[in-house]
Amino acid sequence: MSRAPVVERVPSTAERLLAPVILGVVVIVLWQLLAGSGLIEAYLLPSPAAIGAEIAAFLPSMASAAGLTGLNALIGLLAGTIVGIVAALVASAARIIDGMLAPIVAALAVVPIVALAPVLNTAFGADAQTGRQLIAALAAFVPVFINTARGLRQTRPVHRDLMRAYAATPWQVMRTITLRTAAPFTFTGIRLASSLAVISALVAEYFGGPRGGLGGLISTSAASSAYPRAWAYVVAAIVLGLAFYLVALAIERAVSRRG
C-alpha cells in the first residue's frame, strides 16, 4: 500500500471519446488534402467532401436502403440466435446430439457463409429476401451456439452442490443456476453475431436478387462509376453495422454486470 492516498480516477465518457474523435478529424482532414492535391485519382479515393455531398443528396434513399438491409440482418440475427440457443440447450442435454452437432458447427464456422449466396438466391427466387435472411441467420447461428454451449457448462460446483442440498428439481436447477450462468456467454455470442449478420446480409446482395439494399446500391454505384456515391453507401453500411454492434454491446453489458 502506498502512503499517499491514490484515488483511481475513472475517465469520463467525454474524455474517453475525445481521443478517437480527434484522430478521426485529423484523418479526414489529411484525406481531404490528399484527395484535393491531385496525387491520387478521384476514382481511387474520392474526397470526404465529395462523399459528404453524396450523403446529403441521397440521404432518404440511403435510409431506406439501410432499413431494408438492416431488416434482413435483424431477421437473420433473431432467427440465428433462437436456433443457436435451442440447439445449444439440446446439445447440453444429450451427449449424442452434442457429438452430432459439434462437427456440423465446426464446418459452418470455417465455411465463408456468403459463398452460399448465389445458391440460396437462386433457390428462393430472384425477388425474395429469404436467401439473404437465411445467410444472415446461418452466420449469426455459429457464435451464438458456440458461446451458449460453453456458457451452459460453466455452472460452479458449489452452486450445483447447493441445489442438490436443496433437493431442487432439474427444472429449478436449469432456471436458477444453469441458464443464468450461461446468459452472459449467450449475449457475448449475440454481440459477435450482430456484426456478422449485417456483413452477411449486405454481402449477399452483391450476388443478385432484389435491388434496394445497401449492398446492391454499393455494387450498382461502383458499376456505373459513381465512386463518391458508392463510398457514401459504404459509410451508411458502416453506420448500420456499428448500430447493431453497439445495441448488442449495451445489452451484453447490462446482462453480464453480475455473474
Partner: protein, 278 residues
C-alpha cells in the same frame, strides 16, 4: 466395517449416525483414501466440531452427511433415515467452505433462495428474509450484490441462507474462516444462541481450537492419510447453549484447549499405523 445387528442401531434419537464409513476417491494418480473407519453419533441438539489438519477429510465427512457424495463403505443415517432421504426431506441446512452465493442475486435474494425453491409464500418469505438479514447484522446491505460485500459479509449471507428454514441439523464447513476476530466471536455466540433456540444439532468444521472448544459439546479430532477419528474430546464446560463470552477467559476453557491440542498432536501424522489414542 459393516454395521452388525449387535452394534447400537441408529434411530430417530440420533441426528447423525455414521457407521464404518470409508470414502475412497479414484483419481488419475490412483486411489485417495479420504476417510477410513469413521464411527460417529451426533445427538439431537448436540454441537460437534470436526478439527484436524488440512486434507484429513473434514469436508468429505460433511459432504457424506449431506448426501452430496456417497460413502465407499459403511452407512450414514440422519434422523433415523438414510442421508439421501434426509436430503430429500430437507432435514439439514448447509454452509460451505466457499460462500457460494449467486452473484446475480442480492443479499436478500440469496437468502430467499431455499424458501423460494420450497414454495414459501412471498409475504411470509419477505418477513423471514428480513429477520435473517438482521440476525447476521446485514440490515443495511439487503439490496446489495455479493460483489459489493467483503468476504466475511458474504460468509454471513451464506450462514443466514443455511438457517433460513430452521433446520434441525446444521452442517457448517469453516463458516467463520473469513471473519475478523470480533465478528467471529460475535457470530460464535449468535450461532450458539440460534442452535439453542431452534434445538438444532450442529456439525461444525473448523481449524481453530479455541473456536471448537467454545462452541462444542464434543470435539472430534481427526488425523490424515487416511482420514480417521483420532480422538473425541468431550468439553466439560456446561451446556454449549448456556455459554457466553466470559467463558473465553475461564480457566476451564484453557484446560479444554490444552486437551484438544494434545489430542491433535498425539494424532498420528505419518501413516495408517500411527498410535490409536481412542
Amino acid at each position: 466395517m459393516i454395521p452388525t445387528s449387535t452394534s447400537t442401531p441408529p434411530s430417530a434419537a440420533t441426528a447423525v449416525s455414521a457407521r464404518g464409513v470409508d470414502k475412497t476417491f479414484s483419481t488419475k494418480q490412483g486411489e485417495v483414501v479420504a476417510l477410513s473407519g469413521i464411527d460417529l453419533d451426533v445427538a439431537p441438539g448436540e454441537f460437534v466440531s470436526l478439527i484436524g489438519p488440512s486434507g484429513c477429510g473434514k469436508s468429505t465427512l460433511l459432504r457424506l452427511i449431506a448426501d452430496l457424495d456417497s460413502p465407499s463403505a459403511g452407512t450414514v443415517e440422519v434422523f433415523g433415515t438414510s442421508a439421501h432421504q434426509a436430503r430429500i426431506d430437507q432435514r439439514y441446512g448447509i454452509a460451505f467452505q466457499q460462500a457460494g452465493l449467486l452473484p446475480w442475486r442480492t443479499v436478500a435474494g440469496n437468502i430467499a433462495l431455499p424458501l423460494e425453491l420450497h414454495g414459501m409464500a412471498p409475504a411470509e418469505r419477505t418477513a423471514r428474509v428480513d429477520e435473517l438479514v438482521a440476525l447476521v447484522g446485514l440490515g443495511d446491505f439487503a439490496q446489495k450484490f455479493p460483489d459489493q460485500l467483503s468476504g466475511g459479509m458474504q460468509q454471513r449471507v451464506a450462514i443466514a441462507r443455511a438457517l433460513a428454514e430452521k433446520p434441525a441439523l446444521l452442517l457448517m464447513d469453516e463458516p467463520f474462516g473469513a471473519l475478523d476476530e470480533m465478528t467471529r466471536e460475535y457470530m460464535q455466540t449468535e450461532l450458539l444462541r440460534i442452535a439453542a433456540e431452534t434445538g438444532a444439532a450442529v456439525v461444525f468444521v473448523t481449524h481453530s481450537i479455541p473456536e471448537a472448544v467454545y462452541l462444542s459439546d464434543r470435539v472430534v479430532v481427526m488425523s490424515p492419510r487416511p482420514g480417521r477419528i483420532a480422538d473425541i474430546v468431550p468439553m466439560r464446560l456446561g451446556r454449549a447453549a448456556d455459554r457466553a463470552d466470559d467463558l473465553r477467559e475461564d480457566g476451564a476453557f484453557f484446560e479444554m484447549i490444552t486437551a484438544v491440542r494434545e489430542a491433535l498432536h498425539g494424532a498420528p501424522v505419518t501413516g495408517p499405523r500411527g498410535v490409536e489414542t481412542r
